[in-house]
Subunit: 146 residues, 2 copies
DNA sequence: CATTTCGTAACTTATTTAGTTGCGTGAACA
DNA sequence: TGTTCACGCAACTAAATAAGTTACGAAATG
């Protein structure tokens, strides 16, 4: 595939379900914070696979939102009280930025491209910021339905 | 792949280069609005293929931003004066919404999932709106570099 | 009527993600 | 101590999406 100086700007929010899985799981855990849950339990509830669960929750552990223990009675627990885990924490932990205006690998050969990149990147930067800000206003314990 | 009731919410901004191509091309055309350009010309400048160009610009034509003519001296032209084509017009024409909170195909079996969907969808709705608003503040003629 | 240019369908290739299997590691417990 | 349970991780498969490409039809111009 020959794509030369044209990946200049590229918006990147993947069309994946990781954020969905993470938020869903954490919201559930917020309803019963003292319970330890295994990947298998979570996977069954979420309709997916234990390995996928560990992959996603692993990132949340790296971000300090969860802890995991091996062995008997092991599994996953919230690392903080639910009220202190915001949707933004989860979003940022997964590194799924809407903006992430990729810097061009090579300097754009074209002045229009350069100006375009700057303009759009600026807008997306603002947007990203307000997205995180709004997500930060809600904690995982506020999302519960019943 | 077995993904049952879990596509509930899914953010969807594709990691494609269509918007980039569209904006780049329109910005260029804005610099010389009376010139008709062929897919081949545009493709060469953008480092891609004429068919790809027609695919993308076709959407802009459907949205009333461009016109295309077949035959000798045919090609693409802006349908309006450049100052009246905003970045938002282009963004919307390509139907590449950041938000696009997919409604769940099936009603979520789980109350947490339901509440989560509502909460996140609300936030994303707001974000989408402000994104479009900010893009609307810039026209393709303002993006030019030199 | 020959040429040019768009319109579109079909196909290939690359990338990304989810799903899956398998095995290693460490902790609990009998 | 040794079995079991649970995570950690690597490797593979399968599906979805997008770009690129080829080919051909349709319309407009000269």
């Amino acid at each position: 595939m020959l794509r030369e100086a044209k990946d200049a700007w590229r918006p990147t929010l993947k069309r994946n379900s990781r954020l969905s899985l993470a938020l869903h799981t954490l919201s559930h855990m917020a309803g019963n914070p003292d319970q330890t849950r295994t990947s298998a339990d979570i996977a069954e509830h979420a309709g997916t696979n234990p390995v996928v669960v560990r992959r996603v929750l692993g990132r949340l552990r790296e971000a300090g939102l969860l802890t995991s223990e091996k062995g008997h009675a092991g599994g996953w627990r919230l690392a903080r009280v639910p009220a202190e885990i915001s949707l933004a924490d989860v979003y940022l932990a997964l590194d799924e930025r809407i903006v992430a205006s990729d810097e061009p690998d090579d300097a754009p050969s074209c002045s229009v491209e350069h100006a375009l990149h700057k303009t759009v990147a600026g807008v997306l930067q603002d947007i990203e910021q307000s997205l995180v800000q709004k997500l930060a206003e809600t904690s995982i314990s506020e999302v519960r339905g019943s």
